[in-house]
Subunit: 133 residues, 6 copies
């Protein structure tokens, strides 16, 4: 299995309702360093898993609505607890849609799996990984 992973980041505010979150129930924030990994079984003739330039552009586009935002006021996230795990899946789904819609270029058709990792500090991170059809 081959993989390529690229990195960007977002800076967000949010609150996490629920007793389990302790002080994080208050409005606070986070920098999430976001890594997206693309997996595929075999390489095409130009030996790339994905066009990295397009991958970085698609990631920036996927992250734009979240960046410099208060997630508590984002209609697309209403009713959800915006944990690191949940946001990893949210970004995964946006990247999967970008792939389906051709934003990752023709090479991206061979991608069979993706993983989105959000590092929230030097001591904690979360990710979501799944096949893409």
């Amino acid at each position: 299995m081959f993989a390529v992973e690229v990195r960007d980041h977002i800076m967000i505010a949010h609150s996490l309702p629920g007793e389990v979150f302790g002080p994080a129930q208050k409005l606070h924030g986070a920098t999430f360093v976001v890594d997206v990994a693309f997996f595929r079984a075999e390489l095409p003739p130009d030996n790339i898993v994905v066009d990295i330039g397009r991958a970085l552009e698609a990631l920036k586009k996927a992250l734009a609505p979240l960046n410099y935002a208060n997630l508590d006021e984002d209609p697309a996230l209403a009713g959800h607890v915006t944990t690191t795990e949940f946001l990893a899946k949210t970004i995964f789904e946006r990247m999967a849609a970008a792939r389906r819609d051709g934003w990752l270029g023709p090479h991206a058709e061979g991608i069979s799996r993706m993983r989105v990792t959000l590092s929230e500090s030097h001591v904690a991170r979360g990710w979501y990984e799944a096949d893409v059809a």
Copy 2:
């Protein structure tokens, strides 16, 4: 698959008997930066893989008998060569026990897999990963 990973560290002394270990046969030591990853297939309604606060506490508790210790004199490790790989599994088993015993909270019942990684320097690390029942 969702995952969350948290970090702590220990500082230990030990020796590694056996010719294959060369100079590490002598009493020496290591800082192990310890990452524990928790995996689960689906998220519960509050969107967390595990209660991170409890995970960090359970990890600190699991590491306490090893921290600032000479592993050569730890009765729980007697007869074992305390390599990075072996210690990764040892800590894995203690974290798995913590989960069974409820130290990770009710959310932890949905955890299906764990991984414990020990980074011993900027150039070497080891890990153990397995399902938890």
Copy 3:
């Protein structure tokens, strides 16, 4: 010159008023990984710049009012633009006060200089460094 540096982190929300801040004028947030360095010219007999355990406790105490908070609503910061640079100095002053008040222990009297670094992402950080009397 000897130095010791310790690390902790905070997760905050804030907004940065002023056209120069572009999209960061909106309410957003950040994880700041906070490193505090303590400098001194010579070591005392037990060869430590500062008691690391006390330094970490004092840092946690200095950071507590900022952690999991919306800095826009912190009375102690009212009227200030809470940039990374400004927050570095704010934390510096709280650590300098902790030293004066004895929270860093008797060793801390020999500390002549401190530096507080806030890393806000994998591509940007800021710091404040100055002598302490």
Copy 4:
């Protein structure tokens, strides 16, 4: 599953022919920080996945023909686009051969899987992972 991972690096020049590579079609270069992970199901009595000393030596040997080289002039790579992904597999194959030829020592027979990761900057990396027979 147990794993051990070791690190080295190479500094190479190359060009990447093909419109998809944009400015990287020109002769340029890269530092690749190379991590090789070795996986095995169970540990032998001395509790090691692989002899780390031998693994590092074998890695240095596998990397030597690539290090401080212009890959465009390497006959072994002629006709291939030397992307990060492709180089990860190339190094994987050389490490797999090293294992078959006994360079990793007798412990290496129990290794069932390997992964080679090439980090090319703080924002991009690629890897190849597969079973070894």
Copy 5:
């Protein structure tokens, strides 16, 4: 003293003539992760050392002629041995010129010192630091 530091990177080919360079006399390459630190004694009312957005743009502009290039063929570097140290100063001078020419914005007038660091691998880096008039 306040400081802000931002990061970008370049991927270059070059050769280093002179016996002292051993195998690096051959055409090879490097990724340089480039950090530029800006220092100033006091903060202006909006509490920033420099406009980070402008700093990142100016850095990208300063790096552009070096990125994806063979430095052996760059007329601006002809006759120079393009070591990490030398390139750090080269980029420093281009950033100092950017500041003088107003690319860093009006805040940049208060900058009194700069440092450019080039990390070439996980085990080596070089930098140049000096006052700017």
Copy 6:
């Protein structure tokens, strides 16, 4: 001011006598990732602060008596509390001697200052920096 910094590491056992050290009074251990920075005002014609190959060899030689050792039994350290700070200065002195004795090569005569940093975990490090005559 120009600088170059190189990295190696040691794995040691020791104990730290004195109430201030709490649990670290017991025999334990550490991995110290060791960075040595060399400073000089101007570059010689071949544009290097120091011959990196020689610097790495000299560092390995300076670290050898400490690596895989129990520092409590090292006669050269007898009567000293082997804190991170103290060890930074110890290694500094050995590197300064290496420079005086010619192990760093002729370029090293222009070195005016050095710094030795020991990172003991992801949250703590210490260093010693001074002029060299």
